[in-house]
Amino acid sequence: MNYAVETFDLNRSFKLKKAKNKKENNNTPGKLIALDNASIKIHQGELFGLLGPNGAGKTTLIKILSTLLLPSSGTALVDGVDVVKQPDQVRKRINMVSGGEHCGYGILNVRETLWMFSQFYGIPTQVAQARIDVLLKILKMEEFAKTKIGKLSTGLRQKLNFMRGFVCGPKIMFLDEPTLGLDVQIARDVRAYIRTWMKENPERTVLLTTHYMAEADELCDRVAIIDKGKVMVCDTPGNLKKTLAGEAVFRIEVPLAANGMETFGQISGVKQFAYEHKSHLGRTELKFILHDESAISNVTEFLSNNSSKIVSLSKMEPSLEDVFVALVGRGLKDENGSQN
């Protein structure tokens, strides 16, 4: 089996100028560990997802794999080539698109921008133009071919970033939060394109990072969950969710609660929990996993003791998010989660 990406005990730390208050990253003072012995293997032809909250180390890993950053220690191979020893060989095989990037020059139009980037990969102009036509069509951007990129809306810009990466004909594509901040329809177009691109050639590989669990669940063949620089698990979304089979996953909505959520974990029978304040709805959403379904009465009792009404209560199919909660002991968007 050929691996598109292999990392062996990859570490990366950053010097901190001022000792920042990042106790949750269990750093020695002045040093921030962004990747902590991360080892992953991605097969050729795989659509692989790297999931984790902000600050987990996802971008750091992508930067190392795309030769923008050196690891502090450990080895990383891309298509069998060492990223530190032969970066030029790696660069011929890869491309990278990050959510919210601003590539190119506002003065060029969409077609010119794509052409320019294709030239850095030595693609003959005719081939590049043909690819651009196809990309414009699939991503529904034909009418914007001659629009100056400085005039594009955020969503269209992100589509441009996308095309910019794919027009260069990589074998392995790194997508760092590609749908960040996109509206639903555009995100859907983008995901559909990723799938089409993968299908066209079985040698193509995508490594995608995201903190949208649903996106990973829907899109990826396999996912690794990463937190504080550590790879926690790595498997298919289906298998990961199966680890929670038999667990009772519940969701409760209560009126917006400013505090008091920390003690929720002390209720007997609650294994893991996570919460999210949805202030626009005036609610707090609690997700929790029980050792046993019968413990639900303890939860309702706790809430009524706290004179908190229950807006809704439902039992859920385990999602990837629940897998994360079960592993890490907090939700992806918890306030006590590490912030970037």
Binding site: L68, L70, F120
Partner: protein, 272 residues
Amino acid sequence: MKTDLKTNFKAIIARAYVRIIAANREPSWWFSETLLPILSTAAYVYVYKALKAPPEYTGFVILGGTMSAYWIQVLWSMAAQFYWEKEMGNLDLYMIAPISRMSILLGMALGGIIQTTSRAAFIFLTGSLIFNVSFAVVSFPKLIAVFFLTLISLYGLGMLFSSLFMLYGREAWHGVTLLQEPVHLISGFFFPVRNLGFVVGVVASFIPLTLGLDAMRQLAFKAGAASGFINVNLELSVLAVLCVIFLVTSKYALELMEKLGKKEGRLTLRWQ
């Protein structure tokens, strides 16, 4: 190897294309980059006339104004360019491309030269016509050689600055601002550098414009030879050496900065 060369060549052309296109797409730039320099050049001409300076100074000023267009471009669109590219996120994309980073710099320089030449020519022609400058060219081949060596070494200097500034932010900015005016003075844009004395002249010679302008004055005007700083042939050789030094050191500076940036995590902006 051959395909690598081809790719790098394409990259140079593509990067130059941006500047060539940009030159014609924003009419307002034309205004600020031709009319304003003409006005400031004219101001010098009138000051010299009022001071009853020798008449050949008018020609010197026009020549200085013309070359000053390149200097401004080298400062703002070469030296500070990688810093901009980093802010915009393009630097990442250049760095992951399978090309020499020098190709990007060369493309920027080539595009910059083409872009600025139309402006410089405009300043030169209108200035010469309005003020009725008379030329007496001693040797066209030498004049052309000086012009190109000056441009190559000037843009080479820009490339060197660009590499050095790649990892820095505002500092680069201040550096560029600091360079602009003093260089205008000591490079003798608007008067023979000989007037500043030998020591300042030698120091100023590290900026290719100094010797380039001096040689051009000597080669293009009747009174030029008398006001020359050093012998034209010597100036030509020094310019040739400067070309090599700047291009070679910028290549090494770029490699060094890239290595440092990858090690310290400063090559790209953290938030992307």
